[in-house]
């Protein structure tokens, strides 16, 4: 092996990947592939090499790009252009692209200097957290298609999906919240300033001035009451109509009483009112909302099949390939599917050899071989050479689409789990109303005016602002810590639901096993270096996934060119190298090449892999197995301590023994489960009263993910497609799943502690209020103090637990 030792593995100057023997040296810099070199030379030519000095190896590998010859022809379609662009007139066009490979400051720099690459580009602006770039360009100089091709040429290929055509209005909502916070803060500050004479009991000012201040305060408070706090009234109203008492009900009562009593005091001249506390309350509440509404710009929890399908397909018409939008496809059209491309509609294979990976759709781990004339279901991925298919159904009627529609029906069956704050606020409201009524009845016989003022004081002081703040701050903070550790929750209610789980169900393929990457082992007597070289030299010419995997495994320097090379689809590869005859492929194929007098001792049984025959002698087999995720056994046994765990798989039971060895005997496993079976399994558990957590990854789990109380979809890379779910878990963080669950418990515990603290404040305030001792100053001090202590307490507690669980980083 001295040959390999001498070679220093160089890093690609563009993307930082370790270069193998195929490294391309250009201007004394190593590149892993022609694609990376190409990008470098374009940048070099245009004097944009600062790209490489901002961050080291900022590029993304271009290996796969050269192989796929993507066509952007559909971008010339007028209908498509008008759906994609944000704005278009005679001279200018503005468009926003989602580019998954945007990841560092170099990316920002390069994309915002796009005008140096083409004079038609007017302006480009990057949004790094959302991985988006908005580009405006001159129609006379460059077309939309050329812009996309320009981006692709420098390694930033936009991802154009059907769902990206529907523009989200997320920005509008967050802007609305910012506006409200800004206005409430402004009013809060100004009212406090105008109330200063009251606070300090300065009585020197004239009555006229006092009146002026009062009217100014009323004027300032108007937008807060009618604009900023409107959503609390709406939410309380909605809750009451659904016969639910949510936290917004006592809150709304408090706000309204606050406001009316203050108005009365100011206009009647009996007092200064509580407008400062009122504006402060709304300000703090909105801040809490801003804190809790942390959205993960990159993620989408509501994806449906539309975002899984490609936006355009290659149509073969009169033996010329066109790139057309998927929506323009009709039955009978002939499409071209290349390696790694998705089959967009149910169709029939008419040319080529199908090696279709359905794992995302069915959970079946191994690719399925299809021959000419067989039906291909939409959603499979072709792994291998290019095939041609004839469309047999519309997109809407395809199997995949129907699967989804069926799941959509089940959405309504989902049980509601009441959150802790909802339960507490119900009792809180009843208790509050009882105390208010009691106070009123107590004071009424003595003094009617005092009775009214005391009751309103009770309602004001008991306004559960600290109570309403503790949940968003505690859980919002916990959400942030979890996201940093690779676990993204849709919202804070999911976090609360996680603590109520009583049963956990795992999917196998892609969830317990890794989605990409298989382990490969050679069965038989060890290969010599020469044999390795022979095998590598053979398989490196094949594009079949198994061949590529073997090539990675056997890679040796200086391969030899085979004299003859023949690839029979479905059988294997046959080659002559250096006077050696080599066959690598299926068992059937291998038998043909074995010399009969030399019967092999062992012919290995393979589930997936290839046999090797050299010069008529059986040499052994490469076995390819799925790889289990890191520490998955530990995760499952940890979860099992608290809840029963079961495993569902759409796959055949071939891996069962492996799984048993790994995980243990007491985990129930079911194989050959269809998407519908999985859904029913969850329903059965729920009928027995279980609260189910489902962890899955593919479309085949989407029904189960919807049905379970909490559905987590596992994704290797959070940008890529994952089915609709409550949470997205980064595959690499799977080993911490049980820690995340425990942390969810801690976060809810933090909410409870802060609830108790804020209840103390409320009781303290109410005691004062029922005795009729509340002054505006007292309210103005108690309210912010209680809010701030509760916020500080929750933030510190969630931080403390995150540190202890080791997920703060």
């Amino acid at each position: 092996m001295s040959e390999t030792e001498n070679i220093v593995k160089a890093k690609c100057y563009h993307c930082g990947d370790t270069c193998d023997m195929t490294a391309v040296i250009f201007e004394e810099k190593p590149f892993c592939c022609e694609g990376c070199k190409l990008v470098y030379s374009i940048l070099r030519e245009n004097q944009l090499c600062a790209y490489y000095s901002i961050s080291e190896t900022p590029g993304v590998t271009q290996r796969s790009r050269l192989k796929s010859t993507k066509k952007w022809g559909y971008l010339e379609d007028i209908g498509m252009v008008s759906r994609l662009v944000d704005f278009r007139d005679d001279t200018h066009t503005k468009v926003t692209f989602f580019i998954p490979s945007i990841h560092c400051s170099s990316c920002i720099w390069l994309l915002e200097n796009l005008h140096k690459l083409h004079q038609g580009i007017v302006h480009a602006l990057v949004n790094l957290p959302e991985r988006k770039v908005s580009i405006s360009f001159l129609n006379t100089h460059i077309s939309l298609r050329e812009v996309v091709e320009l981006l692709t040429s420098i390694g930033y290929e936009p991802l154009i999906r059907l769902d990206s055509l529907h523009k989200a209005e997320k920005h509008r909502l967050s802007r609305l919240l910012y506006n409200k916070v800004g206005i409430a803060g402004f009013v809060f500050g100004n009212i406090m300033l105008l109330s200063f004479p009251e606070y300090l009991s300065i009585d020197a000012s004239s009555a006229a001035l006092k009146e002026l201040f009062g009217y100014l305060i009323v004027l300032l408070s108007l937008p807060v009451f009618f604009y900023c706090s409107a959503e609390y009234f709406q939410s309380a109203y909605k809750g009451l109509r659904a016969k639910l008492i949510n936290i917004d009900v006592p809150l709304s009562i408090g706000i309204i009483v606050f406001y009316i009593r203050s108005l009365y005091e100011i206009f009647s001249g009996t007092g200064p009112g509580y407008m400062d506390s009122f504006a402060g309350l709304i300000f703090f509440l909105l801040l809490g909302k801003l804190f809790q509404n942390k959205t993960f710009d990159l993620l989408n929890f509501e994806r449906d099949y539309k975002s899984y399908f490609p936006i355009a397909v290659t149509l073969l018409k009169n033996s010329v390939e066109h790139s057309v939008p998927l929506s323009n496809i009709s039955i009978g059209d002939r499409l071209v599917i290349r390696n790694n491309e998705l089959i967009p509609v149910d169709s029939v294979l008419v040319s080529g050899y199908g090696h279709i990976d359905y794992s995302f759709l069915t959970g079946e781990a191994n690719a399925v071989d299809k021959e000419i004339g067989e039906v291909l279901h939409a959603g499979g991925k072709q792994m291998g050479n290019r095939i041609e298919i004839t469309v047999s159904k519309n997109v809407e009627q395809s199997y995949l689409t129907q699967l989804w529609n069926e799941n959509a029906l089940n959405k309504n069956l989902r049980r509601t789990l009441y959150s802790f704050s909802a339960v507490v606020s119900k009792y809180f409201t009843y208790a509050l109303l009882a105390i208010a009524a009691g106070t009123f009845l107590f004071w009424l016989p003595r003094d009617t005016a005092l009775a009214v003022s005391t009751v309103s004081a009770v309602l004001i002081i008991a306004c559960p602002c600290a109570l309403a703040l503790s949940t968003p701050f505690a859980l919002g903070n916990a959400l942030r810590y979890l996201a940093r550790a690779g676990f993204y929750l849709k919202n804070i209610t999911v976090l609360e639901k996680l603590t109520k789980i009583t049963s956990v169900v795992f999917d196998k393929t892609g969830t317990i096993t890794k989605q990409e990457g298989t382990s490969i082992t050679f069965l038989g007597t060890a290969l010599t270096l020469h044999e390795m070289k022979t095998i590598f030299s053979t398989v490196r010419h094949s594009t079949h996934p198994v061949s590529r995997r073997i090539a990675e495994y056997t890679e040796v320097p200086a391969p030899i060119e085979p004299e003859t090379f023949l690839e029979k689809e479905g059988e294997g590869i046959e080659a002559f190298i250096d006077d050696n005859h080599v066959f690598i492929g299926s068992g059937k194929g291998a038998e043909l090449f074995l010399k009969t007098e030399e019967t092999p001792e062992v012919v290995h049984e393979l589930i997936s892999g290839a046999h090797v025959v050299i010069n008529g002698r059986y040499r052994g087999a490469f076995r390819i197995e799925s790889v289990y995720r890191d520490k998955i056994a530990a995760v499952i046994s940890n979860l099992q301590k608290k809840h029963p765990v079961s495993i569902l798989s759409g796959d055949t039971p071939k891996e069962q023994d492996n799984l048993r060895n790994l995980i243990g005997e007491d985990v129930p496993m079911s194989f050959n489960q269809s998407p519908y079976d999985k859904l029913q399994y969850i329903q059965n558990l729920q009928r027995k009263g279980a609260v189910v957590l489902m962890i899955g990854d593919g479309l085949n789990d989407s029904g189960a993910l919807q049905q379970s109380e909490v559905g987590i979809s596992v994704s290797e890379d959070v940008v890529s497609f994952s089915p609709a779910s409550d949470a997205i878990l980064n595959g690499a963080s799977m080993n911490k799943l049980h820690t995340f669950m425990e942390y969810a418990n801690n976060a809810v515990f933090a909410v409870r502690v802060s609830f108790i603290v804020s209840l103390f404040y409320n009781i303290f305030g109410i005691v004062y209020a029922v005795t009729g001792n509340v002054t505006p100053l007292f309210a103005a001090i108690l309210m912010p103090v209680s809010s701030v202590t509760v916020i500080a307490l929750t933030v510190l507690l969630t931080m403390f637990y995150a540190k202890r669980r080791g997920i703060a980083g």
Binding site: Q47, S105, I108, W109, E112, N127, G182, F186, L212
Partner: protein, 61 residues
Amino acid sequence: MSVIAVLIGFSLMVAGAFLGAFLWAVRTGQYDDKYTPSIRILFDDLKTEDTKHNQTNKETS
């Protein structure tokens, strides 16, 4: 004491101007992306360095 009323009027105007500036900033999307601008601001120096660097390269070659 009526000078206080005038001063209050001014203070409200100043504060209102700031509120207006904030609302304008939100409207024009300055709060949509709170991260990228912090990186972008560091680029200016690099750009000039790059052009200088390239110019000297050209002269020598």
